[in-house]
Amino acid sequence: MSGQKVTLRYTIAAEDFISAGEASSHVKKTLNKLGIRHELIKRFTIAMYEAEINTVIHASGGEAYVEITPEKLMVKISDNGPGIPDIEKAMMEGWSTAPEHIREMGFGAGMGLPNMKRYADDLAVESEVGVGTVVTITVYLS
């Protein structure tokens, strides 16, 4: 990378479980092209993918803004969904409010936020009930 900043923006489609993950997939492709280290790409895109899935499950979609600089990979995923009443609880493995049909698709088992925390260097979750949620995931390159 030659020192400049790369930014990417995506709309995450509302309740579209089939296309969920397309933004993360495109980011992965872009990071590979930029020659970012394999292990960092994996950590970043797994965390982003979990956040993307969450947006589809809980908030009928949202937006993703990605910033790639020589220092870090950052994605901000925002939605206008119901918000998270208790973030501390939501960070616990196994705690979930996802409906049954989402569990049948292999998600919604209360591992999303814990997985984001596992793979991100920094994870910030800001949420207001009835307003929405912003999740910011950062992976440092150095």
């Binding site: 479980f17 089939i18 969920a20 993950g21 993360s24 997939s25 992965k28 394999h38 994996k42 895109t45 797994i46 993918y49 979990e50 899935i53 698709m105 292999g106 998600f107 088992a109 591992m111 999303g112 814990p114 997985n115 596992r118």
Partner: protein, 117 residues
């Protein structure tokens, strides 16, 4: 264990991704819960699952998993196969149920463990 040998051991059908037959697989992950798969960090893994939807392929893509085997004879849709093909992911299908499929691979020497924190 080579993908070629995994195919033989599981008596599996190759639905796409013949180009990965010489890949050396170090460990297996048997799960129907994709978030559990994403908590499992290791390279050169085969994913065995009874879950059939496109998110299985997306999960494999994010995890750099090159081989997915659907168990219990489940047949993925054309859409799943096409997405896997575009990502260079091999899709197998075996009639064996999950427990037996994992057991057969373990017995054949695929005993690598994932890294759980």
């Amino acid at each position: 264990m080579l993908v070629r040998d995994i195919v033989k051991t599981l008596d599996a059908e190759i639905l796409t991704g013949e180009e990965n037959l010489e890949l050396d697989i170090q460990a297996g992950c048997g799960a129907d819960l994709m978030s559990d798969v994403m908590a499992f960090v290791k390279d050169n893994v085969i994913l065995l699952t009874g879950l059939i939807n496109v998110q299985v392929v997306r999960t494999a893509e994010m995890m750099d998993i090159k081989v997915v085997c659907f168990v219990r004879g489940k047949q993925p849709t054309e859409q799943i196969i096409e997405l896997a093909k575009s990502k260079g992911i091999t899709i197998l299908s075996t009639k064996n149920p999950m427990f037996i499929a994992c057991g057969l691979l373990y017995k054949a020497g695929l005993t690598g463990r994932g890294v759980w924190d």
